[in-house]
Amino acid sequence: MEIKAHMVSAGKAEGKAVVYNGPFAFLGDLSPVTGKICMPRHQLEGTSLANKVFVFTTGKGSSGCDFAAWATKKNGMAPAAIICMESEPVLSGAVIATKIPTVDRPEENVLELIKTGDRVKVDATAGIIELDFGR
């Protein structure tokens, strides 16, 4: 199954999905050292996003999210790709500057369609999300 989406940051990648029906901040929510959600009492506390396709609603938090994204990527702990419902300028700047393939505004509700653990391909440059491939 292919879902059209809007390119935020070019590139393509695939990986296992982590789906979160809420907003995300690279700074504060995610440890750049372990690649795990580190915010106390967060629903995903302890979950690793490293090399995953992270699916969530939108960005939030401080303008430092972009340097946190950079550090996470440098440590090899960044998500392989990002799919969000609607990006916002801090998240977009972060993924463009750190070259994490990212799409937003998918034509289907990916928060329902994609389950945590599913394998997902993101071709951000072409604006395509691919699910259920190789079946």
Partner: protein, 419 residues
């Protein structure tokens, strides 16, 4: 995106590789938000110590002195950290010095604060001031009526280098009307301190699902500056709000109608006693009552805040480390007033640093084994980042409760009596 001939020259490397890369980032960001063009900036504001060095070097490579003013966010002070005996301070010195050298070559201004408006550097209504630092973005938008879109530290460097920013988001007048309306439900704010406003802002930021403007209705008119600031700066911590109109206080919101335009709110957020209580509880992440560090000045303290802290500390000694984040000029005024001496005699310390994400006492990669295991603060923003980035237990309370915790080393803060 439409570019002028001058902007094309920047993009094509006519002014060196740093400006070419910076322009590339601005154009890509603008295009992802369908921006038609770039606009010139009134001034820029960056945070060099927060920029990864590889990024800083690339974006400033070959960049000449800029014709526009560029100022700075709180910086690191590794020499001071070292003097304070923090074991890993040495690790930070060389990179800081290299970046600072380049910063000076660019002719930029070492304001080193997240509250530049306290130094007399503030935008006029309508000025375009792209900047890093979500707390100053939301303050400049909301309290001064400047045009700042939400943006990150890395993008703000690109904007400062090029003197341009994409015409998008909050730079466009019709996007500045509120989409979300906050109504206070039977809340008496007459005895609120700054901390209660921090708590309210933190709740609102969490409730707004996106990054569109908010109008807060029902607060007393002409809210004091410290209170208005505490309210708006907490929103982009728990969320992404970058413009918050406070009806009766902020320049674009003399009335609710002026704040909303002819829009009907997409969402009405009602805040009552229960929401305030739950948020206050959420900001407190601690187990036993031992306090090892107290942080003030997130955002950087006003002279009034320092005066109040000095009055509470006069003749006392602190058991914890106590840090006040303040810009150098405001600290100088506090010194002239005699307040800095009172605070220092009690054992308090000043630094033009970020007391939240870059607090040397709560960061394991600066303080090493001297990292505080618990910290008290009167700022929701500090509480959020000390707990998450520092991984430290946090007490959130009023200014007075935090000073008392510093003196006794124990937390005796109480849930406010919401009425």
């Amino acid at each position: 995106m439409l570019l002028t001939d001058e902007e094309k020259k920047m993009r094509d490397g006519g002014y060196g590789p740093g400006m070419r890369r910076s322009m590339d980032l601005l154009v890509k960001l603008g295009e992802s938000f369908d921006a038609e063009r770039l606009v010139p900036i009134s001034y820029g504001h960056i945070g060099y110590d927060f920029c990864p060095e590889a990024f800083w070097d690339k974006m400033t490579e070959g960049v000449p002195q800029t014709p526009h003013r560029v100022t700075t966010h709180p910086s690191y002070s590794p020499e001071v950290w070292k003097a304070w005996g923090l074991p890993l301070a040495d690790n930070w010195i060389d990179e800081h010095e290299r970046k600072l050298k380049r910063f000076k070559e660019l002719g930029w201004l070492r304001t080193e604060t997240c509250a530049e408006y306290l130094l007399g550097i503030f935008p006029r209504k309508g000025d375009v001031v792209p900047m890093g630092g979500s707390c100053m973005q939301v303050a400049n938008n909301s309290l001064f009526g400047a045009k700042v879109d939400r943006m990150g530290i890395l993008v703000s460097l690109a904007a400062a280098v090029c003197g341009r920013t994409p015409l998008m988001g909050l730079l466009i007048p019709e996007n500045r009307y509120a989409n979300h309306l906050v109504e206070l439900d039977d809340l008496d704010v007459s005895d609120w301190t700054m901390s209660e406003y921090h708590c309210l802002g933190y709740y609102i930021g969490d409730q707004v699902p996106g990054f569109k403007p908010v109008a807060v209705n029902g607060l007393p008119p002409n809210l004091p500056f410290d209170f208005a600031r505490a309210l708006v700066i907490s929103m982009p911590t728990s969320g992404a709000v970058t413009l918050a109109h406070i009806v009766g206080t902020t320049p674009e919101a003399p009335t609710l109608e002026a704040a909303m335009g002819d829009k009907r709110p997409e969402q009405v957020i009602r805040v009552g006693k229960r929401e305030m209580k739950e948020t206050w509880e959420r900001l407190n992440v601690w187990e036993d009552d031992t306090v090892e560090h107290v942080a003030f000045g997130c955002p950087h303290s006003t002279i009034d805040e320092i005066g109040r802290i000095a009055a509470l500390l006069e003749g006392k000694k602190v058991m914890t480390t106590l840090l006040i984040g303040a810009s150098t000029p405001v600290e100088a005024l506090a010194r002239r007033q005699g307040w800095a001496d009172i605070i220092e005699k009690a054992g308090g310390l000043f630094l033009p640093a970020c007391p939240s994400i870059a607090n040397p006492f709560t960061r394991a990669d600066i303080a090493g084994e001297k990292q505080a295991k618990s910290a008290a603060t009167n700022s929701a923003r500090s509480a959020h980042y000390i707990a998450s980035v520092g991984g430290v237990k946090v007490f959130f309370g009023t200014e007075e409760e935090c000073v008392n915790a510093a003196i006794s080393g124990k937390w005796k803060g109480e849930m406010p009596k919401w009425k």
